[in-house]
Structure formats: C-alpha cells, structure tokens
C-alpha cells in the first residue's frame, strides 16, 4: 500500500469541474450513467469513516433518493412525447393526460445528473480540506472566501452537531417520538451549526486571512495570470460565435477577474500542499476532459439529447466516453487522504 498521500486541492477542484461538466450541460443518459459510475468509484476509493466525508455521503444518498423519486413526479406532470404507455383522465388536475416514456427517460436522465453532481460534491468535500482551498484564493476574494468558509462548513458541521445533540438528548432520557419533541433537537442543532460556522469565519479573520502584501512571487504570478486570462478569452470567442452569450460573458468575467484580482497576496504562512505527480496527473486528465467536453459542445451537438418530442436512442461518442473515464484517475492514487 502506498503511503498516505494528499492530493493538491486544485487537482481535486479540476476533477470536480470535469465530472460536473457533463451533468451540468447534458441530459444524455449514456454519458450521465458513465459519469455516475466514475464518481461512485472515486467516492468508494476514499477511506471510510472520515469525519468530514460521512455527512456529505449521507447528503448524497438522501439527495439521490429524492432525485429517483422525482422520476415519478416527472412522468406524472410532463405529458409530452410520442411514446405513451398509460393515460390518466384529463379531468385530474396537473397529472391528467398521457404518461409517456419520453418523460420517464427525461426523469431518469435528470436523476442521473443530480446524483452524479451530489456524489461528486460529496467526494470533493470529503477529499479536500476546505481551509486549504480557501487559503489559495486570491486575497481580493477575501469576502467570498469567508462566505465560502461558512457555506462549506455549515452542512458537515451541522450534521455532526446533530449526531452529538441526538446522543446527548438520549443520554438524558429524552425520547424523540413526537413532532413536539423534535424542537428539543432542532433548536440546539440550528444554533450549534450557526455558531460553528461563525466561529470558523472569525478564526479566518483573526488569523489575518485576506490581509495584503506584495510578495516576491508577484511578478511571476502576473505572467501566469495574463496567460490564463488570454486562454479564457480565446475560449470565450467560440462560445460567443455560437450564440452562447451568457456562457461567453461568464468566461470573460473569469478572465477579467484573473487579470485584476490577486495582485495582492495574502501573507498567511500556513504550509500548503504542493504539486506532486499524482496531483499533476489528475489535473491533466481533468483539463483534457474539460477540453474534450467543451470542444464537443462548441463543435456540435454530441452532448445534447432530448427525448422530446420523439424518443430516440442516444448516440455515444467514444472520445467523450474516454474523457469521462479519465476521471477515474483519483480512484487509483487517492487511496488515503491525509487529514
């Protein structure tokens, strides 16, 4: 077994963006199914029993269950398509009308997309130390960093607090058998979760997060920022040419942000994880996958699929499939994440 290994958080971030690209942009069931398989494999590769991972895992399971239930809701409320398998009386409000396989396929695809995103988020949050990721933000983003710290820590901390409160109340003989009794659980749970999040943000501020200092590396970083901004602007051009104005504006905004922000550097002295070969491999695979998916979106309709109005069999491009499979890389290098 390889020694404990910690991957670079930016590599994990790129992996998260890569596996999230297909569920965010497509309802193609084959790609979504493959993405979900990949995400689950990587999720299984993380060590069990992690304090931070379990709450997110539960979050993903609950969310995926709701997503599966939404398939039935979709079938009952969307009466569009050419393949009907049953019909409810038209007099029934909202659900009355033909029930179609088209709506069923769309519901399944949506459930696959939601589940993929949830498990990807669970994996990312279980594998990455949030504080380290936030510290890597440019200091100009300090307000966003604090808000992000609160947001990211709220769910796992609240779920951990929930377990603690539940155990404490049961130790005191409190029985959670009625709705009224839940108040003794929910009120301290909410207060505790908020308190933890605020404490986290205060700790960030107290330790000087967001303070500014022009470092010696600034000049070198400036060139990289310029190159990144140029790359993003070049990426935005085909998006603009194909009419995806919102996406082009977003990419251009990120490019402008890369140029303007981060000129001031935080003087925090916390040692951060460096880049190693596994991290570089994961980052490279993620960037390659993002490139393939972006090219597929810009060049054609490879990713687009709609079961309406006619239910047709979705195609499968092996290049895109290979790009999705590349995201299995963390499963083979992230056997254990050092906490």
């Amino acid at each position: 077994m390889s020694p404990p290994q910690q991957l670079h958080p930016v590599a994990w971030l790129l992996w998260f963006l890569a596996v999230g690209a297909v569920p965010l942009t497509s309802r193609q069931p084959l790609y979504l199914l493959l993405t979900l398989l990949v995400v689950i494999v990587v999720h299984l590769a993380l060590p069990a029993g992690e304090e931070r991972g379990n709450p997110w895992r539960l979050f993903a399971y609950v969310g995926s269950t709701v997503a599966v239930l939404s398939i039935g809701f979709n079938v009952l409320t969307v009466h569009t398509g050419d393949r009907a398998f049953a019909e409810l009386p038209d007099s029934w409000p909202i659900i009355g009308g033909p029930l179609t396989y088209n709506a069923l396929v769309y519901g399944v695809a949506s459930a696959l997309a939601i589940s993929s995103l949830l498990f990807a988020a669970a994996t990312f949050n279980a594998a990455v130390r949030h504080m380290e990721l936030i510290r890597r933000l440019p200091s100009s983003f300090q307000q966003f960093g604090v808000a992000g710290a609160i947001a990211l820590s709220y769910v796992p901390h609240t779920m951990q607090a929930g377990r603690d409160i539940y155990d404490a109340q049961r130790a005191r003989g409190h029985q959670m058998r009625s709705v009224g009794a839940a108040r003794a659980f929910l009120v301290p749970l909410l207060g505790n979760g908020l308190e933890r999040a605020i404490t986290t943000s205060e700790a960030l501020e107290t330790r000087g997060y967001g303070s500014t200092d022009l470092g010696s590396r600034q000049k070198g970083l400036g060139r990289w920022r310029f190159a990144l901004a140029l790359l993003l602007l070049v990426t935005a051009l085909p998006l603009l040419a194909t009419g995806r104005i919102a996406a082009a504006l977003f990419v251009a905004l990120v490019a402008v942000a890369a140029l303007t922000v981060g000129r001031r550097q935080s003087k925090q002295r916390v040692q951060l994880t460096g880049w190693d070969r596994p991290s570089l491999a994961i980052a490279t695979a993620a960037i390659a996958a993002l490139g393939v998916i972006l090219a597929a979106i810009v060049a054609g309709q490879s990713l687009s699929y709609s079961p309406f109005p006619r239910l047709v069999w979705p195609g499968f491009n092996p290049i895109i499939g290979a790009a999705i499979l590349l995201q299995l890389a963390p499963a083979f290098v992230a056997h254990r994440v050092d906490r």
């Binding site: 077994m1 299984l44 009907a84 006619r310 499968f316």
Partner: protein, 343 residues
C-alpha cells in the same frame, strides 16, 4: 393395421395442430398485408398546420385523425416536422425549434432575450383571423377543421388567411370526396397498406404519376391492421389535371398509427386548384412526410424531417458497454483493495 391407423391418426392430429396454429397467423397476415383501403368508412377528421419560417418560407400540412381531437403537439408530430420541444411542467410543452430554426431544448427561448426577440409564436385560426395561443401545443386540442399556425417572428405573425379546405387541397387531400372517386380507387399490388386513406382522398384536380407506387413501397410502414380489400381493381383512376396555374408538388399522407404519419406517395407537379399561399410566385415541394413547403420566388428545398433513429447502433452499444465495464471493473478493484487495506 392398427399401427398404420395410429400413424394416420397421429398425422392428422399433427396436421390439425399445424392448421390451428396457422389460421391465426394467416388471419394476422391477411389483416396486415392487404391494401389498406378503407374507402367505405366514414370521413376522417382533419386539422391544418401552417408554419412560417423567418425567411418567409411557409410549410403547410394537413393531418387526418380518427379521434375527436388531437393536441397541437400531436399535430406537429403527425405532420412529420422536425421540431424540438421543452417541457414546462404543468404549463405543457414549449416549441423551441421547427425544421432546425430556433433554439435547443435546454435553452428554449435563446433568441428572445435580446431585441429583436425571436421565438416560435403560436396561433390558432379563427373565422377570419389568427389568434394568439397562450397555452403550449400540448395544452391545445384541435377538432376537425381547426388550423394551427406557427411563426418565427418578433411581431406580425405574417400567416396567410388560409382555410382548411385550401390546406387540404394544397397537400393533396380532399375534405369533400365524391362517391365516384372512392368507387374508382385502385390500389395496386405495390400499393402498400398505409396508402389507402390518402389515396381515397386524393383531390380530383391532381395528377399522380407512376412513382406513386414505388415511393409507397419504400416508405410505408403501417403498424395497425387496416381493413383488407379482397379484390382491388387493377388500375387506379386518377383524375385529370386541369390547367395548371402554379407549379406545385403535393405529398399525400396517410395515418397508419396513432402517433405518427407515414409518407406513402408522392406525386409530381400537379396543379394546385386555387390554394391561397401568400406568395404570388408560388413554388412548393413536399417534405416527404405530409407537409408542403412553399418558398416565395424560388425553387424550394425540402425540409424533410427524418424520424430519429429508434434503434440503437450495435457498435455504439458495444463501445458504451465496454466503457461501463471498465468503470465497474475499476470500482471492484478499488473495493477489493480497500478491504485489504482495512483488514
């Protein structure tokens, strides 16, 4: 002797069994293989469709149906147009694109967020005007004689004041067939089942050419069992053309299933009696699926819609299966390795 008698009895039993098994099969074949002549049935309901594209191209379609009503979405579907819809929950479906013009399903009104705002406007034909439809096509029901209109526009709909009879005539249907036309109807041997209704309603002013049969054979795919015609006449009596006033190609369609329309026959340029298409220099062509395209001032190209490929490609399935197998194998490898580590 006894053995021989038993053999004969056994053979007769087997023969009776085979015959019993073949009878339903033959009945099934007879019900599906015969020409679909249903000329003696009641006249079918019909609804019209007019689509105006941004470049001024008009698409006319006439769809026959047996039920009392059909939805606006079903009308588009049966007309054979290539269109994209996006579901909006209880509000029904919104049409995003028709014949390639418009937006994808995931951004249905992509060209409506700036000025000028283009999207597919939905109208219904009233007695003397076009009325805006506030609901989507899946929420509207059309009865016999109703007309739906779609216009890719920012303001004026630009739809012509057509009647249902004019659309029917333009697309090769006759909403008021004369009895003699039915009597002289002649599906030939190559005239496949789904053509019956269409043939029965070919307008008297059209001249059909021999490509009728070949086209029908190639494309007709009936899925319901039409009534067989025991002795179809040998030849069809096609009405004689009158003086052509415009160059038009009509497409005759027949509904063979409840959900689709099957193109069955194509006739060469025949005179459109007096349809009132909007353009003075009328050129029309068929889509091969029930719609007639009319472009002003030019010879049109068919915006033939192709039904999607409903059959999965074997190679694509195999590739996807291979990729999925790799992912599953990776998962098994990870789980096994993890168990070893934990133990």
């Amino acid at each position: 002797m006894l053995v021989s008698s038993r053999r004969v009895h056994h053979r007769s039993t087997v023969a009776a069994g085979i015959a019993a098994a073949l009878i339903p099969l033959l009945l099934l074949l007879a019900s599906t293989a015969g020409p679909a002549v249903n000329a003696q049935g009641p006249p079918r309901n019909g609804a019209g469709l007019v689509v105006r594209h941004g470049d001024g191209t008009f698409v006319y379609a006439y769809v026959e149906f047996d039920s009392e009503t059909i939805s606006g979405e079903e009308l588009l579907l049966r007309a054979g147009l290539d269109f994209v819809v996006a579901p909006f929950g209880g509000l029904g479906a919104g049409v995003c694109a028709i014949n390639g013009e418009g937006c994808p399903a995931d951004d249905c009104y992509c060209q409506s967020y700036s000025s000028p705002a283009y999207y597919w406007n939905y109208y219904s034909r009233t007695a003397d005007s076009w009325a805006v439809q506030l609901r989507g096509p899946s929420g509207r029901q059309l009865a016999d004689g109703d007309i739906d209109g779609w216009s890719w526009t920012t303001g004026d709909h630009g739809l012509p004041p057509v009647t249902i009879d004019e659309i029917a005539t333009l697309t090769g249907f006759n909403r008021n067939p004369e009895p003699t036309a039915t009597a002289t109807l002649a599906p030939t041997a190559t005239f496949t089942p789904a053509t019956a209704t269409a043939t029965a309603t070919i307008p008297p002013l059209a001249t059909n050419t021999p490509i009728l049969a070949s086209t029908a054979t190639a494309t007709a795919v009936p899925t319901t069992a039409p009534l067989p015609s025991p002795t179809p006449p040998a030849t069809a009596t096609q009405p004689v053309a009158t003086t052509p006033s415009a160059s038009a190609t009509s497409t005759t369609v027949a509904t063979a299933t409840a959900t689709n329309i099957v193109p069955t026959s194509t006739s060469t340029p025949s005179p459109a009696p007096s349809p009132s298409p909007p353009a003075p220099t009328l050129a029309a062509t068929s889509t091969g699926s029930g719609a007639v395209i009319v472009r002003p001032g030019e010879t049109p190209e068919a915006l033939a819609s192709e039904d999607g490929d409903n059959t999965p490609s074997g190679s694509e399935l195999a590739i996807f299966g291979g990729f999925a197998a790799i992912a599953v194998a990776a998962g098994m490898f990870v789980v096994v390795k993890r168990r070893r580590v934990e133990s």
